[in-house]
Amino acid sequence: MTTSSIDLEWKRFTLKERLSRFSVYLIIVMSLLWSWQSVEVIYEFLYDAPEQLVDMFERMTPLDYASYPTTIHDALIETLHIATLGTLITLIFAVPLALLNAPNITPNKALNWIAQFFLVSTRSINSLVWALLFIALFGPGVIAGIMAIAIRSIGFVGKLLSEALAEVNMGTIEALKATGAPWGSILVKGYWPQVMPAFYSIVLFRWDINVRESAVLGLVGAGGIGVVLNDAQNLFQWPKVAMVLVSIFAVVIVAEIVAIQIRKRLI
């Protein structure tokens, strides 16, 4: 037996690492305290919140079922149309931008960055803000809603698609290149089969998000179920408000189920 003088004690972190970890925790706690102070909660409003909740529930029930066929149904369908058309229009912009942003397809740094700029800028602005912009352009209504959904989704769809494109097996692409295939054929026979499941998955997921987003867009006058919700709220028709909320909830659930089923069959 030889006893070596090597210190066999194992430490997970060095002193420097421990200090830096401790300071990260400290910063998190301090920023929590600081933000709590700066929100200036009015505690009087908090205390009677349970009372208000019961009161609102009483005013909302029973649901105004009669309003569904007269106003809510059409608005709901309009909301679905906004989400679907918006998602389709997104693709017109998102697919070319994704191709430009994927470095293996567009080996040009400048073009990659230009595409990146559009992808980031479209998704950094909330769809409500886009809706306000488009209402100013096209006037209030469905078109503004569709465009808000479409532009807002470009960044999401484009970014995820370009990531999927960047991760394809380049060996396959090399093999098709070696056959003398033109660029377009490499795209449709090499890249497309590899990214197709991701593509449909991304589009369905975004459609699913857009159904929910378009339900809110009406609040600023961009068409759909949100308009009905906003009107009912302004007129204190609480049973109708409740009916709208339940309808939106039902549609979101159904959309989710549909999306899951389609995704399952595609992959």
Binding site: G171, A178, G180, A181, K189
Partner: protein
């Protein structure tokens, strides 16, 4: 189908470096006129793959010329390069099939260089191409797999598809980059036999990288031994000496 032009391929003083100042190929001269298997042997990292990829220009060589079908391949660009690539089939170590397409479509993709992207998108394959694809599937023994997806196949089956795709191009020359290295010994022999079959059937040279010396000796008509980015041996398999192999692979402990 296949036809051998006289002087199938001639490589003159080919140099290549990925990083400036670190050459991988240091003046390669190879002249291939005959059909049949020509095996390039040598250790990993000696530039065998680089050499093959320089021929069909998946790599751009730094210097030298490659004469093929009346053109200097190193000078070609764009459309002209694509046109000539159609006549150089390539088989890969990792098969490089389009996994989500069927076996038949993978074989047909050997014709992509001859059709427009629009026709490729609409799967508008020519009747004669379809006929040839089925013929090739029959030759490689995969007829009953025609409509199966390529990702369901074993390694050996995938390589057969890879070979069929390369032959589908109607090549004047076949390149194969370590076609047997990912396969078990028995399958490796079958793949080599298939390569030999197509070399004879189409009367074309097959230039392949291989690190299994015995397999190379068994099937190749000619062996090119590479060491340090240069051709050390070029001749018939029976004339390669142990001394040559020592130079090519370095050391001798591996030979026992």
């Amino acid at each position: 189908m296949g036809s051998t032009s006289s002087n199938a391929i001639k490589i003159n003083n080919l140099h290549h470096e990925y990083v400036a100042g670190k050459p991988v190929l240091k003046g390669i001269n190879i002249d291939i006129n005959e059909s049949g298997i020509v095996a390039i042997i040598g250790p990993s990292g000696t530039g065998k793959s680089t050499l093959l990829k320089c021929i069909n220009r998946l790599n751009d060589p730094s210097d030298g010329e490659i004469l093929f079908d009346g053109e200097d391949l190193t000078k070609l660009k764009g459309q002209a390069l694509r046109k000539i690539r159609r006549h150089i089939g390539m088989v890969f170590q990792e098969y490089n099939l389009v996994e989500r397409l069927t076996v038949l479509e993978n074989v047909l993709s050997g014709r992509l260089g001859y059709m427009s992207s629009w026709d490729a998108w609409r799967r508008n394959y020519k009747q004669e191409d379809l006929k040839q694809a089925f013929e090739l599937l029959d030759l490689v023994g995969l007829t009953e797999f025609a409509n199966q997806r390529a990702d369901g196949l074993s390694g050996g089956q995938r390589q057969r598809v890879g070979i069929a795709r390369a032959v589908m191009q109607g090549p004047y020359l076949l390149l194969a980059d370590e076609p047997t290295s990912s396969l078990d010994p028995k399958t490796a022999v079958e793949i080599m036999e298939l390569m030999e079959t197509f070399a004879q059937r189409n009367d074309i040279p097959v230039l392949l990288n291989i690190h299994d010396v015995n397999l190379a000796k068994r099937y190749a008509k000619r062996i090119i031994g590479m060491a340090n980015g240069k051709v050390h041996y070029d001749g018939p398999p029976e004339d390669i000496s142990e001394a040559d192999l020592k130079v090519i692979y370095g050391g001798e402990s591996w030979m026992e």
